[in-house]
C-alpha cells in the first residue's frame, strides 16, 4: 500500500503544481488577455494553448518523476496529474460562482469563468476533467515515445504555436511575395492559422524533423568526410547564402520588422562588446551603457546643427565617437583595476549613473542639451544613398555587426583572447603566467567601450536625436541578460540572446503588460534548466554535458540526504 502511494505521489504533487500554475495564470489575467487571439482559427485559441502548454509541462514532469518504469504507472500518474489540475481549476470556478472574488482578484471576471468552462457556461465546466487529463496524458505518451518521435511532436507543435503567435509578422511577409500570397491566404485566416494550414504545417515540420533525426548524423558525417577544400567550399557557400539573405531581408520584412531588426542589431553590437568585458575577461561591468551614451553624445555634439559646434557628417564624427569611447573605457577602467567581482560591479554601476546624471545636469546643458537632449542629428549617407528608413539603417547596423564579429573572432583565438580567459578563470595564476593584468584589463575595457560607442553612434543617427533617459541602467542590465541567456563568451550566443530577449518582446508588444513577467520567468527557467546559455561556446557546452553525465545519480543522493 505504501508502495502504491509512493508511486502515486508524484502524480498528485505535479497535479497540485499544475493547478497552482493554471489558477495563477487565470487570476493574473493572462488567460483573458490571450483569449482574443486564435492559434488555429476556431479550434484553438491562445488562452487554451497557454493553459494546455502548462498542463502538458506538468504532465511531462509527472511522467518523468514516476519512479516505476512501467508505462502503466506513467499513464496513471499523468492522468492523476491532469485530474488534480482540473480539480483545482474547478475549485476556482465553484468558489467564483459562490463568492465574488473580484474584490480581491480584479481579473476574476465572468469572462474568465466562461473561458475556463469552454464558453458554454458553468454547467459545462466538468469538461475540464476531460481536457486536462487528456493534455497530461498526451505529455505521458510523449515521454514514453522514442526520442525521435518525441522531438518530432514537440518541434512541430512548438512551430505551430509559434506560427500562430507570430502570424501578424508572418502573414504580411508572405503576402509581400506575389506568388506566395495565395499560400499565405491558405495557411492563415484573419485570426490564426486555418485548419488545413495547421495540419499541413504539422505534417511538413514533422517529416523534416524526423528526417533530420534519422539522417542528420549521416549528413554530418558526410560533411566531415569531405576533403578540406570541399568543406571550405560548402562553408563559403553557406556564408554567401547568409549574406544574400541578410541583404534582401529588410525588403521582404517591411518597415516594422526591419525596425525590430535594427534594435536587435544594436543590442548585438552592445552584447558583443560586453561579451569581451564580461564573457572573456570576466570583469562584471554594470555601467556599460555609459559608453553607449558617450558614443551617441559625441556623435550628436559633432554633427548636430542644433548645437552648431562642428556640423561634421556622420562618417567624420564616427571615428571620434569610437575614439572618445575607448578613452573613457580606459579612463574608467583605471580606478577599478584592483577590484574584483561584486565590488567591480558596484563601482561600474556608479559610472553608468555618473555619466547619465552629468548629461542631465544644468551645468553641461549648453553643450549636452540637458533633459531635452540633442536633435537634428544628420542621417548617414554614402555617395548620395541616405540611411534614413529602418530598412536602410539596417545595412549600416549589419555592417557594424560584421566588423565587430570579425574583430571578436580574431581576438578570441589569439594570445590576447587567451589572456582574457585566463584572467577570468584565475587572476593570480594568470599574472604568474606572465600576463600583464593592467594592460590586459584595459584592453578589454577599451575594446568593449569601442563596440558600445559604435552602437551609440549608430543609435544617434538612427533616431536623429539623443536623450539622457534612453541611457539608463536598465539597458546595462538588459545587455548583461542578453549575454547570459545567449551563453557567456559565445559570439553566436550573443546574436541568439539578443533575438530572444530583445526581438521577441518587440514582436509580442500587445502583451506588454506581461512582458516583464514573462521575461523574468524565462530568466529563472533558463538559469535552472540551461545555465550555459542558448548557444554556448563549444567547450562550455561540452563541460555542462559532461557534468550532466557525471551528476546523473545526484538527485537520488540529494533526496536521500534531505
Amino acid at each position: 500500500m505504501t508502495r502504491l502511494l509512493t508511486l502515486w505521489k508524484h502524480g498528485v504533487m505535479t497535479g497540485l503544481l499544475g493547478g497552482l500554475i493554471t489558477v495563477l495564470l487565470s487570476l493574473m489575467g493572462m488567460v483573458e488577455a490571450f483569449s482574443q487571439r486564435q492559434i488555429v482559427s476556431g479550434v484553438l485559441s491562445m488562452d487554451q494553448a497557454l493553459l494546455g502548454v502548462a498542463v502538458v509541462f506538468v504532465g511531462y514532469l509527472a511522467a518523468k518523476r514516476t519512479t516505476s518504469s512501467q508505462p502503466l504507472w506513467v499513464v496513471i500518474n499523468t492522468l492523476t496529474c491532469g485530474f488534480v489540475t482540473a480539480a483545482m481549476l474547478m475549485l476556482l470556478l465553484v468558489i467564483g460562482h459562490v463568492i465574488n472574488l473580484r474584490a480581491v482578484f480584479v481579473n476574476a471576471s465572468p469572462v474568465l469563468y466562461e473561458l475556463l468552462s469552454f464558453g458554454y457556461g458553468f454547467e459545462s465546466a466538468p469538461l475540464l476533467f476531460v481536457a486536462a487529463p487528456l493534455c497530461a496524458l498526451f505529455a505521458g505518451i510523449l515521454y514514453l515515445l522514442p526520442g525521435a518521435f518525441r522531438k518530432m511532436s514537440l518541434v512541430s507543435l512548438t512551430c505551430i504555436i509559434g506560427a500562430g503567435v507570430l502570424q501578424d509578422m508572418l502573414r504580411p511577409t508572405l503576402a509581400a511575395w506575389e506568388s506566395l500570397a495565395d499560400v499565405s491566404e491558405w495557411i492563415f485566416s484573419a485570426n490564426g492559422l486555418t485548419e488545413q494550414g495547421a495540419t499541413v504545417l504539422f505534417i511538413v515540420i514533422s517529416l523534416v524533423t524526423l528526417f533530420w533525426s534519422f539522417k542528420g548524423e549521416a549528413v554530418k558525417t558526410g560533411y566531415q568526410g569531405l576533403p578540406a577544400a570541399g568543406q571550405k567550399g560548402l562553408r563559403w557557400t553557406g556564408i554567401a547564402v547568409l549574406l544574400v539573405v541578410l541583404f534582401i531581408l529588410p525588403q521582404i520584412l517591411g518597415l516594422f520588422l526591419s525596425e525590430v531588426l535594427t534594435i536587435v542589431g544594436l543590442y548585438v553590437l552592445l552584447g558583443l562588446g560586453l561579451n569581451i568585458v564580461v564573457g572573456y575577461a570576466g570583469l562584471l561591468d554594470l555601467g556599460y551603457v555609459a559608453f553607449f551614451a558617450i558614443g551617441a553624445y559625441v556623435t550628436a555634439i559633432l554633427t548636430s546643427p542644433e548645437l552648431g559646434f562642428f556640423n561634421l557628417s556622420f562618417w567624420q564624427a564616427l571615428p571620434f565617437a569610437v575614439l572618445v569611447g575607448i578613452v573613457f573605457g580606459v579612463l574608467l577602467g583605471i580606478p577599478v583595476l584592483k577590484m574584483r567581482g561584486d565590488y567591480l560591479a558596484i563601482a561600474t554601476l556608479g559610472f553608468g549613473e555618473i555619466i547619465r546624471i552629468m548629461v542631465l545636469s544644468d551645468f553641461l546643458r549648453p553643450w549636452l542639451g540637458g533633459a531635452q537632449g540633442i536633435g537634428k542629428i544628420p542621417k548617414a549617407s554614402i555617395a548620395g544613398f541616405e540611411f534614413g528608413m529602418p530598412q536602410e539603417i539596417y545595412y549600416l547596423i549589419v555592417a557594424g555587426c560584421f566588423l565587430v564579429i570579425f574583430i571578436s573572432l580574431r581576438l578570441r583565438d589569439s594570445r590576447l583572447g587567451r589572456a582574457w580567459k585566463a584572467m577570468r578563470e584565475d587572476e593570480d595564476v594568470a599574472q604568474a603566467m606572465g600576463i600583464n593584468l593592467v594592460a590586459t584589463k584595459l584592453l578589454a575595457f577599451g575594446t568593449g567601450a569601442a563596440f558600445s560607442a559604435l552602437s551609440g553612434a549608430i543609435f544617434a543617427t538612427k533616431l536623429t536625436s539623443v536623450y539622457p533617459h534612453s541611457m539608463n541602467v536598465m539597458i546595462s542590465i538588459n545587455i548583461l541578460c542578453v549575454i547570459i541567456v545567449g551563453g557567456m563568451g559565445s559570439i553566436p550566443g550573443v546574436i541568439v540572446g539578443a533575438a530572444a530577449l530583445v526581438g521577441l518582446p518587440e514582436l509580442l508588444r500587445e502583451f506588454a503588460e506581461y512582458r516583464l513577467l514573462v521575461y523574468g520567468f524565462a530568466l529563472v527557467v533558463m538559469m535552472l534548466v540551461r545555465p550555459e546559455g542558448l548557444w554556448p561556446e563549444a567547450v562550455r557546452r561540452r563541460e555542462f554535458h559532461e557534468d550532466i553525465e557525471e551528476t546523473e545519480p545526484a538527485p537520488s543522493t540529494a533526496s536521500a540526504s534531505s
Partner: protein, 263 residues
C-alpha cells in the same frame, strides 16, 4: 654557482613572522627541497620568490638581479615558474589553452597584428600551437589537448600544471608538493620525471615536499624550516641525522626517543 639567493628574507603577516631572516642559496642545476612542519613558511617563501608577496626585509636575487618589488608577471619573464599546492589550472579552458597561456610571455603579437591577421602573427600562433603540442607530449598528455582541464584525472592535472609552467621556459622551477595525493607508483613516476627535467632539460628545481621518500630520494640539498626560520641545511643524509630536525618534526620527547632508538 647559485641561481637563486635569499638573504635575510623576512615576511610578516601582522604579528606573525611567516618567514624569518631566511638565508638560502639554490645551486644551478640542482634539485633542492624545502621541508618543514605545516605552517613553517615554505609556501610563503615560494610566494615571496614569485612576487605574490613582497618581503618586508632582505633580498631575493635571481643570478644577481633583485626580485623584491617586481610583479609576478615580471618575475616569470626572468625565468621562474611555479606550480601550486592545490592545483590551480584554468579549469574551463582546454589543456591546450592552458599550455598556450603559459607561452603567453614569449609571444609578441599585438592588438593590431591580431585584428589585421598579419602573417607574422599567424606564424607565431602556429608555432605556439606546435610548441604546446610538444609540451603536452613531453608530460605524456598527447591527444588530450582538447579536454577541459578540470575534467582531467588528478595525476594528469598535476602534469598539465607542470607543462604550463614549462611553457614559460623557466630556468628555475618551483614545485609545491608535486606528489601530494599520489600513490607510490605515481610518486615514483613523478620523481623520475623531475630528475629527467633537471638532467635532460637543465632546469633547476626547488620543491616543497612532505613525502620523505621523495625528499631523500631526489634532492641534493635539503633546507628545513620551522616557524619561518632555517633550522638545518645539508645533504639528505645529514638532515636525517640532525637532532634539530627530528625535534621539529617529533617534538622534544620524540627526538630523545629517536636518538635512543638510533643508539
Amino acid at each position: 654557482m647559485a641561481i637563486l639567493t635569499a638573504r635575510k628574507t623576512t615576511k610578516r603577516f601582522g604579528g606573525l613572522v611567516a618567514v624569518d631572516e631566511l638565508d638560502v642559496e639554490i645551486k644551478e642545476k640542482s634539485i633542492h627541497s624545502i621541508i618543514g612542519p605545516n605552517g613553517a613558511g615554505k609556501t610563503t617563501f615560494f610566494n615571496c620568490v614569485t612576487g605574490f608577496y613582497r618581503p618586508e626585509e632582505g633580498q631575493i636575487l635571481l643570478d644577481s638581479k633583485s626580485l623584491v618589488g617586481l610583479m609576478p608577471d615580471q618575475i616569470v619573464r626572468l625565468g621562474i615558474a611555479r606550480t601550486y599546492q592545490n592545483i590551480r589550472l584554468f579549469p574551463i579552458l582546454t589543456a591546450m589553452e592552458n599550455v598556450l597561456v603559459g607561452l603567453h610571455c614569449h609571444l609578441r603579437a599585438n592588438y593590431f597584428g591580431i585584428v589585421a591577421g598579419l602573417p607574422s602573427t599567424r606564424k607565431e600562433e602556429k608555432d605556439a600551437t606546435e610548441e604546446a603540442k610538444r609540451l603536452l607530449r613531453f608530460v605524456n598528455l598527447a591527444g588530450k589537448g582538447d579536454l577541459m582541464a578540470k575534467n582531467l584525472p588528478y595525476g594528469e592535472q598535476r602534469r598539465l600544471e607542470i607543462a604550463r609552467a614549462l611553457a614559460t621556459k623557466p630556468k628555475l622551477l618551483l614545485l609545491d608538493e608535486p606528489t601530494a595525493g599520489m600513490n607510490p607508483s605515481e610518486t615514483q613516476t613523478m620523481m623520475d620525471f623531475i630528475r629527467h627535467l633537471r638532467d635532460e632539460v637543465g632546469i633547476t628545481i626547488l620543491l616543497i615536499e612532505h613525502q620523505m621518500r621523495v625528499v631523500m630520494g631526489i634532492s641534493e640539498t635539503v633546507t628545513v624550516l620551522d616557524y619561518g626560520k632555517k633550522i638545518a641545511e645539508g645533504t639528505p643524509e645529514e638532515i636525517k641525522k640532525n637532532p634539530k630536525v627530528i625535534e621539529a618534526y617529533l617534538g622534544k620527547g620524540g627526538a630523545a626517543e629517536a636518538q635512543r632508538v638510533a643508539a
